[in-house]
């Protein structure tokens, strides 16, 4: 079993290992821990949990590590997501290519405001048929806070199974729908507080 905490570190390992791949075939947990500023036992435990195994005195095979991490992160199992709310954040996410690295395609957004529609932005009425046609599993909510709940309900009706909500608002959803709240402002606010402590 891969713990949530471990899962959070996998992309960091992945990025580092991809850089190292061209330089070396094997790498030790000690080296990784030093470079990424983690405990060395933690690195070994993390590697063990994704069923990578190393050889004493040698270390771990870099390519195998990369493969294991990508398997766990599901880079290979593709899925599709849509955005509702084509404001600045919505559009930025739409055009941001980084989700592809994890096997997630985001190519369409929906909005109810006429002048936002066009190109990859479709009218909100087309959400349900689009989701049915493309078997969309993930919905990304970037609408203003007071429209979030309604948007979520529409997504559920459209057959979406998981919602990524970019606001501090708690959504009221039926069982079986996965949700993750992403609060960028809070994240930055947390950093601000770290300044005083340092």
């Amino acid at each position: 079993m891969v713990s949530k905490a471990t899962l959070g570190r996998l992309p960091t390992y992945l990025e580092y290992l991809k850089r190292q791949r061209v330089l070396t075939k094997v790498i030790s947990s000690t080296t990784v821990s030093r470079e990424l500023d983690l405990g060395e036992v933690q690195v070994r435990k993390d590697f063990a949990s994704i069923s990578a195994n190393g050889k004493p005195k040698t270390g771990y095979n870099v390519s195998e590590l990369i493969d294991s991490i990508e398997t766990v992160l599901g880079t290979n199992t593709k899925c599709e997501a849509v955005i509702v709310g084509a404001g600045r954040l919505g559009k930025a996410l739409l055009e941001y290519g980084g989700f592809h690295d994890y096997g997630i395609t985001v190519k369409t957004a929906f909005d109810s405001t006429q002048d936002k529609i066009g190109g990859s932005v479709l009218p909100i009425e087309e959400l349900a048929p689009y989701c049915a046609l493309h078997q969309v599993e993930i919905g990304i909510i970037t609408v203003p806070q007071d429209a979030a709940q309604k948007t979520a309900e529409l997504m559920v009706k459209s057959g979406i199974k998981a919602i990524w909500c970019l606001s501090a608002l708690k959504l009221d959803l039926p069982d079986g729908i996965a949700v993750h709240y992403e609060n960028l402002s809070l994240s930055l606010a947390n950093l601000k507080q770290k300044i005083k402590i340092n």
Copy 2:
């Protein structure tokens, strides 16, 4: 002392309480826990940790709770941040107003590419003088991954005390500089995995 976990829940309380403020003067931990889908003891512990206190049989004063949360979140102590990397994500964050809620002003971005410069986007050469003049404390990195480390170093030279890095790359920084890594792709990838479990 406010734990990191508690800190993460404060904005959710805040958003909910602001909505309730117009309806009621006092609220019980039971109600809050039910609405936000949290443990009721957890709610009381969280409230206790931000030194809010309630009255048995009555509950907590909503306005006082809001004040306490805002004090802890530092909505009142202002600070300024700059963005380096005026790509899509950088620009979206620049135009996104939500940071203001936590007392953080983000009004300028910097880039090294000539045709991105203009309006609120200044040439990267002006970062250091700008930071000195405006006493900028936070730097937001939205440059491509291979330019992140250099950008971070430039920020440190410019007197920035905390860095918010929107990439999976681990930065190598001197002691005393706070860092927070934000990996949106990973966050979405985590949600994708929850689908299978549900």
